[in-house]
Amino acid sequence: MKIDFRLLTIVACAFVVAGAAIVMTRQATNSAVVMEIIPPKGVAMTDRVPDGMQLEVTAKGLTLTLPECNLDKYQDKFFLHLYTRSGLEKNPPAFINLDFFLAQETGLAQQIHGEKSCVYLKPLSDFSPQQVNIGQFTVPNGNCCEITWSRTYIFDRNLLGK
């Protein structure tokens, strides 16, 4: 049995290149890092994302999917705050406010495996956000605000930890 070291080296190099590509990709997997908002003092945080609602946020747009198109659980106002690079450099950081009521938005009905759901789309690419905060809040007895759930999406990894 004659071992061909040249061939083995070539194969080993190919494996290393493939492995490196996978490792590098794994390290940079998610387009956004999802974090929980730490509510400011005096603002209560009572819950997480309501069950069933699917949320997908990228720098290009927001996609909200409601199973059964049931709006009852989502009557509270949504806050949608976009932070651009220049906005984040300000102190305190400035954001673009796109708050909305879901009932006033137009959803696209779809059926997958016979199950109905409604998809709501909000384009964000015009703003080129570096960070997106989304959630719902109520104003109990006129006192603003009680956040019922929230998520923060950070698209620029350099902003992590700031």
């Binding site: 493939a18 990709t25 940079a28 290009k60 384009p123």
Partner: protein
């Protein structure tokens, strides 16, 4: 009466084999079941149809079997020459395979990036799609999700010949090298799945 002209050596093997009717039938069944399965996903089927809809998943399995048979046969033929051709033979194999799939894949990836706003909006997310690593993200992103099976195939195209070449490098015959690669593919992935998932 015309005499049969012997085929040039370069045309032997690889993609010069005669078409097999049975395989075309299998291909048709696989295509129809995949189309049927996706159709059911986006409609409200009759309960009877819905109950048999799960069988559509076997369309992809059938495709994998067909691919394994066809590509396996090609690999067994072309690898006979790899002790002499060495890496050139493998690169030729890759070139033939990738020219059939990659141009269309990258074209539709580009189209998806333009029209699907909900995914792969950052360069780091797109990187996975460039090296067919989207299957390694869990849960797998919905963006361009149909490519999962192509990803499996592309990694098979890449790794399987490399294993054959590795075995040839250790001095084994091409036939024994193919067998070694098959055994490795049968054993390692399930073991990895057991320990990693």
């Amino acid at each position: 009466m015309m005499m049969a002209t012997p085929k040039p050596a370069s045309a032997v093997g690889a993609e010069s084999h005669d078409r097999m009717y049975g395989l075309d039938v299998c291909r048709t069944m696989a295509i129809l079941s995949v189309v049927f399965g996706h159709m059911l996903q986006h409609s409200t089927p009759h309960p009877y149809l819905a109950s048999v809809g799960f069988m559509a998943i076997f369309g992809v399995d059938l495709f994998f079997c067909l691919s394994g048979f066809l590509i396996g046969r090609i690999l067994m033929q072309v690898s006979e020459r790899w002790p002499q051709e060495q890496e050139r033979g493998v690169m030729q194999f890759w070139y033939r395979r990738w020219m059939r799939t990659l141009p269309l894949y990258f074209f539709f990836l580009f189209v998806e990036l333009q029209i699907y706003w909900g995914g792969a909006s950052s360069l780091s997310a797109q990187q996975a799609y460039l090296v067919f690593a989207q299957n390694l993200a869990w849960p797998m992103p919905s963006f361009y999700g149909l490519t999962w099976s192509l990803t499996v195939e592309e990694w098979f195209y890449f790794l399987f010949p490399l294993l054959i070449l590795l075995s040839i490098g250790f001095g084994k015959t091409p036939r024994a090298s193919v067998l070694t690669a098959i055994v490795i593919f049968l054993v390692i992935p399930p073991v990895l799945r057991f320990f990693l998932v």
